[in-house]
């Protein structure tokens, strides 16, 4: 399925293996990571990935749900959103 670039955000208490877990999921689903940035503010882990899921066989809805589920398992909040919403808001 053809889709736009997606922003994945992970917010939560820092611990070992958060990035590994998310990246494993992305690799398994043929989702390509274009950019990663992260910062830790007062023990809180903030990460953003820009990914290209064009070659993934899964529907976008399913990816959103599965990432959310992984977040619940490891105690962080994971969201996947189309990049447009950020682009529209912050760029003229």
């Amino acid at each position: 399925m053809i889709m736009k670039r997606t922003v994945i955000t992970v917010v939560g208490k820092d611990k070992v293996g958060i990035i590994a877990r998310v990246c494993t999921y992305l690799a398994e689903n043929n989702i390509n990571i274009l950019d990663i940035s992260q910062t830790i503010v007062q023990d809180f882990f903030n990460m953003m990935m820009i990914v290209d899921a064009t070659n993934s066989l899964k529907q976008f809805d399913q990816i959103v749900e599965e990432l959310e589920q992984i977040g619940l398992e490891i105690g962080v909040r994971i969201r996947a959103q189309h990049e447009d919403i950020f682009d529209k808001m912050h760029r003229i």
Partner: protein, 454 residues
């Protein structure tokens, strides 16, 4: 490329500051449903609405999931029913059958409100208009989702005072018929001057006769986001204040524009307008009154309120206009009382009166909105309140509206609870002096002069 800071900012607006798309409203023309046979008319209306709007709710849900932005309401507006039903309806009861059809169609497609049980009578009423207006109390008491509005005046035509008189009585009758539910019927009835054809917000939405066959209009909201932004610049001068509101309004409106275009593409229905209104809800932190407080007032209603609101309204428009190619509807700041916790607090503290609210409507986007008054208020007094508000709109070339609820069986000091987005409200006192002779004159107020502006 988007950076982490910007992503965090957007998601904070959504998760902590109540940024949402308040409504995707699908406007549907019913002109092609007109039929002299009432049964046939009802069938055509039901078929058209359920056909055109069948994907509305699922589309809204899909956009919500993909962008992670809540889309609170999916709604429908239709051509003013007074026009659509004029050929078939011979009595108010005939019109009520259409209200029930609209209610059923809304239920089938899963929307919570359907607007357009309306009449446009800014100069005077046709037989059909009058029958529809007389059917409003029954229609609103026998349906759940139907919203009604009547445009009784405009800058170009003046004010139809016969309709104003009639609507005072109709509002009371609607209150009486829904008195077991705190007269909630009146919360779904708006009286307008200069009503816009493309307003996506209920209860005043209808699909104007100048519109196309179907159109997607979107209303965005985010008082909490503006409030939060202003918290960061306490004590700064007006230039900084205005700049901050403008920038925030821009960001909010961009989201509306994105959602509108996406919905339009997915449903293959043209995009109409984005309505960039700050629309409060009873939720904490989603209040226009709190913005006014943040600007520097102890309560909404304190001296300075009208100026603060004027500034807020204007900056919202300035920021929003840049963000969307097509801005329309009401666009500005809404000041409903029952739907805004800060307004409720202001009334309860004694800071905000009906008269101050009237002054505020001169500079904001709508009018006297969701105000509960004693149930024993006279019909002529309600008509007088409407006439005042319509005059403000007519002279100032702006939309004004009255959505006032005389709560049967309750009086000053008591409260009403409408529930949900409609909120709760203290009953406000109304000026007790009579305007009977004024309202009973009959006829219309002429259009104002369009020169010598002072």
């Amino acid at each position: 490329m988007i950076n982490l800071h910007e992503v965090i900012e957007t998601n904070k607006m959504i998760q902590q500051e109540n940024l949402d798309v308040r409504t995707i409203t699908l406007g549907i023309s019913l002109m092609d449903c007109v039929d002299p046979d009432l049964t046939e008319l009802n069938r055509k209306i039901y078929d058209k609405i359920t056909r055109v709007a069948k994907d509305l709710v699922s589309t809204g849900d899909k956009i919500q999931r993909e962008y992670g932005i809540p889309i609170v309401n999916k709604r429908i507006s239709v051509t003013p029913i007074a026009l659509v039903g004029a050929a078939a309806c011979k009595s108010p009861e005939d019109y009520v059958t259409i209200a029930k059809t609209l209610d059923k169609a809304a239920d089938t497609v899963g929307v919570n409100f359907i607007g357009g049980y309306s009449a446009l009578v800014s100069k005077s009423m046709t037989t059909g208009d009058e029958l529809l207006i007389k059917s409003i109390p029954q229609a609103l008491s026998q349906t759940v989702r139907v919203c009604s509005s009547v445009n009784v005046g405009s800058t170009k035509t003046g004010i139809d005072m016969n309709a104003v008189k009639l609507l005072g009585e109709i509002i009371l009758e609607t209150a009486e018929l829904t008195k077991d539910r705190d007269s909630i019927g009146c919360a779904k009835l708006v009286v307008f001057c200069n009503a816009p054809d493309d307003n996506p917000f209920m209860a005043g939405a209808f699909h104007g006769v100048t519109e196309g066959d179907a159109v997607i209009n979107v209303g965005v909201s985010g008082p909490g986001v503006v409030k939060k932004a202003l918290e960061g610049i306490r004590g700064e001068d007006f230039e900084t204040l205005c700049e901050t509101i403008k920038k925030t309004a821009f960001k909010i409106t961009r989201v509306g524009q994105l959602v509108a275009q996406e919905a339009s593409k997915l449903m293959n229905i043209p995009f109409g307008i984005v309505d960039l209104s700050l629309a409060p809800t009873p939720a904490i932190g989603d209040s226009v009154a709190e913005i006014l407080e943040e600007i520097g007032l102890e309560y909404a209603g304190a001296p300075g309120t009208t100026a603060a609101l004027a500034l807020l309204n204007d900056q919202v428009k300035k920021g929003g206009v840049m963000a969307s190619s097509y801005v329309g509807g009401l666009s500005g700041a809404f000041i409903p009382v029952s739907e805004d916790q800060g307004m409720i607090n202001a009334v309860e503290a004694g800071a905000l009166t009906l008269e101050k609210l009237e002054a505020m409507t001169c500079v904001c986007s709508v009018g006297l909105d969701m105000i509960a008054i004693p149930g024993d208020t006279k019909a002529t007094t309600i008509s007088g309140i409407i006439a005042d508000e319509m005059a403000i709109g007519m002279i100032n070339q702006k939309t004004t509206a009255v959505r006032i609820i005389p709560v049967i069986g309750k009086t000053i000091g008591e409260r009403v609870e409408f529930g949900g987005l409609l909120g709760h409200a203290p009953i406000m006192p109304v000026n007790r002096f009579s305007c009977d002779a004024f309202i009973n004159r009959g006829g219309r107020i002429p259009a104002p002069i369009h020169s010598f502006k002072n």
